[in-house]
C-alpha cells in the first residue's frame, strides 16, 4: 500500500502536477529598485523601456560617438541620473550589487552588461574621486589637524 502511494507521488512529482501544492505557484520576480519620488516619469512608457531600452541606448551611443549629438533623452547618463539614487541608508548601490537598478533585472535574466566596465554606474555627484588627489587632500587635512592640536597644547 505504502509502496503504491509512493509510486503515485513520484509519478505526480515527475509530471509536475504537485507543484502547486508543494512549491510556490508564482515564478520569483526580480527585485527592481525604483527611483524615489512620485511623478518621476521615464522618457518612454515602462513596457516600451523594458523591451527596447538597449536599442535606444545603442542608437544614441553611435550618434554621440560619431556625430557629437549629445541630447539627454536617450543617453546612458540620463538613465543613471534618475534611476541610480542613494537608498534609505544614504548609500548608493554600485553595479556590483543587486540593489543597482540595472543589476537587479540583468542578474535575474542572466544578461551580462558591459556598459559599466567603462561608464560611470552612478550620477556624477556621487562619484568618489579617489586616487592621488584625494590622498594628498587627506594628508593636508592630517597635517592641518596635527598642527592645530600642537598649537592647542602650547
Amino acid at each position: 500500500m505504502t509502496n503504491r502511494f509512493l509510486r503515485i507521488t513520484f509519478l505526480l512529482v515527475g509530471l509536475g502536477l504537485l507543484y502547486p501544492v508543494l512549491g510556490s505557484a508564482d515564478t520569483p520576480k526580480p527585485v527592481i529598485h525604483e527611483p524615489e519620488g512620485e511623478g518621476v516619469k521615464c522618457v518612454h512608457p515602462e513596457e516600451e523601456m523594458k523591451r527596447n531600452h538597449m536599442n535606444y541606448i545603442l542608437h544614441q551611443r553611435d550618434d554621440t560617438m560619431y556625430d557629437g549629438i549629445r541630447t539627454e533623452k536617450h543617453s546612458l547618463a540620463n538613465c543613471i541620473d534618475c534611476h541610480v539614487q542613494p537608498g534609505k541608508d544614504g548609500k548608493i548601490a554600485s553595479i556590483e550589487t543587486e540593489e543597482h537598478f540595472c543589476k537587479g533585472c540583468h542578474e535575474y535574466a542572466a544578461v551580462t552588461i558591459d556598459c559599466f566596465e567603462c561608464h560611470a554606474d552612478r550620477p556624477q555627484k556621487f562619484i568618489n574621486r579617489g586616487g592621488k588627489n584625494n590622498a594628498s587632500l587627506q594628508q593636508d587635512l592630517q597635517t592641518m589637524l596635527s598642527a592645530g592640536t600642537a598649537s592647542g597644547d602650547q
Binding site: 560617438m65 557629437g68 543613471i80 567603462c118 560611470a120 550620477p123 562619484i127 579617489g130
Partner: protein, 251 residues
C-alpha cells in the same frame, strides 16, 4: 540636399551674430578670452558636428614653462586618469617633452599629445574601424568596438596612445574608459561639443601661461587662425604629411 545647405547657412549667420555679441559683451565683463570663444562656437546638442569646422590647437613653446604640469594635471582630473605607479604602462594623454639643442644648450619644453592628424596612421591600421577621425577632425577611439590589439599604438609617430591594462573605477561621467581598450587625448570632445575649450587649454590660461590656443583652423577669423597667419606655427614631423591639428611655435 538643398535643405541641408540652407540649414548650414542659418547656423553660420547665427554664429557670426553670436561671436559679435559675445565679443562686445566679453570686452566689458569677462577677463579671459577663452570664455568668449566658448560662447561663439556653441553647437546645439541635437545638431551633428560639421566638417566645416576643424578643431586645432596652437602651442607656444616660448610660453610653456619647464617643469609646469598644469595641463597634464587638468587632463588627468578631467578624464580621471589614475596613477598606478607604473609610468611605463600608465595612461598618459599628455606628455611633457624637453628638447635640448646640443650646439647651444638651449632647452625648450612642450606638451605632446594626440596631434589629431587629418590622415591619421592609427585610423589606417585599425582592423576593426574603432580608430576614426570625426568630421571636425578630432581623432578618437570608439572603445565599444576596440579589441585592444594596440596596432594603432605602433603606428602613431607621436607615441600618443596608451593601453588600459588594469580595471578602472570611478570614471567621470563624461570620460568613460576601461580595461582592454586603447585611448588617447580626445581634445576633450565632450567639452568641445558643448562649446567649451579643452581642460588643458583652460588650465594653461588659468595658470596665466597662455601657451595654448584652441579654436577652429578653418575659420579665418578665429583666434588660432589669426595667430597662425601672423606668427606661424609648425607641425611636428611635417615630413610625414599627416596635416596635424596641433601646431607648435618656437620649435
Amino acid at each position: 540636399m538643398s535643405a541641408n545647405k540652407s540649414k548650414v547657412a542659418v547656423n553660420n549667420s547665427r554664429r557670426a551674430f553670436l561671436s559679435k555679441t559675445a565679443s562686445t559683451a566679453g570686452m566689458i565683463t569677462i577677463a579671459p578670452g577663452v570664455l568668449l570663444h566658448q560662447v561663439a562656437n556653441a553647437k546645439p546638442d541635437d545638431q551633428p558636428i560639421s566638417e566645416k569646422v576643424r578643431w586645432g590647437m596652437l602651442i607656444d613653446t616660448n610660453k610653456c614653462e619647464k617643469g609646469c604640469t598644469d595641463c597634464i594635471d587638468a587632463c588627468n582630473a578631467e578624464h580621471s586618469l589614475t596613477d598606478n605607479g607604473r609610468p611605463e604602462s600608465d595612461t598618459q594623454y599628455i606628455r611633457k617633452v624637453t628638447l635640448r639643442d646640443k650646439s647651444t644648450g638651449h632647452e625648450l619644453s612642450l606638451p605632446l599629445m594626440c596631434q589629431h592628424c587629418e590622415t591619421a596612421p592609427c585610423v589606417d591600421v585599425c582592423p576593426t574601424g574603432a580608430s576614426f577621425t570625426r568630421k571636425d577632425g578630432i581623432a578618437l577611439v570608439d572603445k565599444h568596438i576596440c579589441i585592444g590589439c594596440r596596432y594603432c599604438m605602433m603606428a602613431c609617430p607621436y607615441k600618443a596612445r596608451s593601453f588600459v591594462h588594469e580595471a578602472v573605477k570611478n570614471q567621470t561621467l563624461s570620460a568613460p574608459r576601461g580595461k582592454g581598450t586603447v585611448e588617447s587625448c580626445t581634445m576633450c570632445v565632450h567639452r568641445v561639443d558643448k562649446g567649451e575649450t579643452p581642460a588643458c587649454v583652460e588650465a594653461c590660461s588659468k595658470g596665466m601661461h597662455d601657451a595654448m590656443i584652441f579654436g577652429d583652423l578653418n575659420d579665418p577669423n578665429s583666434k588660432i587662425s589669426k595667430s597662425l597667419a601672423q606668427y606661424g606655427g609648425k607641425q611636428l614631423r611635417a615630413d610625414l604629411q599627416l596635416n596635424t591639428a596641433v601646431r607648435y611655435r618656437g620649435i
